[in-house]
Amino acid sequence: MCLGIPGEVIEFLPDQPDLARVDVSGVRRVINVGLLEDDKLEPGDWVLIHVGFALSKIDEAEAAAALQFLEGIGQAYEDELAALAESRIE
């Protein structure tokens, strides 16, 4: 629950600009990006995601480092990814 997982912004939902489709380790899901409205996100940007919300914008190197770290911790990250895969907020 407290893991921040990195995702790449793929696209924004046309009718709901505070929702974006992101790619997290190959899992594509819709998350809320309303907390980063000051950051002027664009497709290709990386964000750290907590419980379905992008909480901070990060650069690609940080995303790669965070991802490698998370893959190293094993079960907790797998559980988080499985939960994300089940998530349907739109």
Partner: protein, 375 residues
Amino acid sequence: MKFVDEFRDADKAHALAARITALCEPGRQYKLMEVCGGHTHTIYKHGLEDYLPEQVTLVHGPGCPVCVIPMGRVDDAMALASDPDVIMTSFGDMMRVPGSNGSFFDAKARGTDIRMVYSPLDSLKIARQNPDKRVVFMAIGFETTAPSTAMTVLRAAAEGLPNFSVFCNHVTIIPAIKAILDSPDLRLDGFIGPGHVSTVIGCRPYEFIARDYGKPVVVAGFEPLDILQSIYMLMLQLSKGTSTVENQYSRVVPWDGNPVALRAIGQTMELRPYFEWRGLGFISHSALAVREEYARFDAERLFSVPGVRVADPKACQCGEVLKGVLKPWECKVFGTACTPETPIGTCMVSPEGACAAYYNYGRLTRQRVREASPS
């Protein structure tokens, strides 16, 4: 990918450890608290204490949101969930936390409608799909998850959703740190500040620790080298006799936090006069409740909540572990009656709990050897 390789580099860890050792004054013991459960997890996963000199001890703090939920609140949630009109939703971490009459998982097995969700927004969707039911989201967590609950309430309000509410158990980290600083049980020399909480609140809220208590604080990232670097930064301050707040995790944490998130929390929630924390007791202004303006999304106003106080099981010493007074393995039931499969206390439930981290990564033997040998 050079960046990643650098972080994986054990040589760098040893080099940092040597610099930390060089800063130790002879005969002085250093106790540093990592506040955040995510840091505790990294420390045990990577055996970071093995790199540190004997003079430096890491003390595990209260920053595990599941661990600090008192049993009474679990029982209150269970009472809400037992209403046949209610669908209770909860994060997965919460599902195994024991109440007096079992966990959410146990209640679910008995037929209570409790559903695990990834995001509070999933609960909104469940509410839209079940207009004849009342969906209650069990909101837990520090400032890392409070903004998501706040944004969800705002969205429910914008949609005019009539059957969604929040059972709010959000807690705030600063009063807990202050309670630990004021506790006579423990003398700490410095703090490894939480990473993700700080993306929301920023670094300024920690300034009182440096100013009023004279203890340095370094906000840290979650990589093993982030934590060792932060310990080095703390030791450098201690060797110079300074106490300031530093941000080792500036690549993610802005000094002023996330103003949009803070606004959303402020708009929908207010501080409670007091709240009970497992092991730490009642702490003033340490938790959030839904504001009156959003009363129709507040389960505590919509339902009759028993509000019972339940003493923790006698054998369980989570309180001492959460305050850093006891090491997990010093608890009488650690690893015997209390395991991740059959937890008695909350610290054994969450992967961020100190007991679960100890248990899962086999630090037990080494710790016992170390504690048994005279230093």
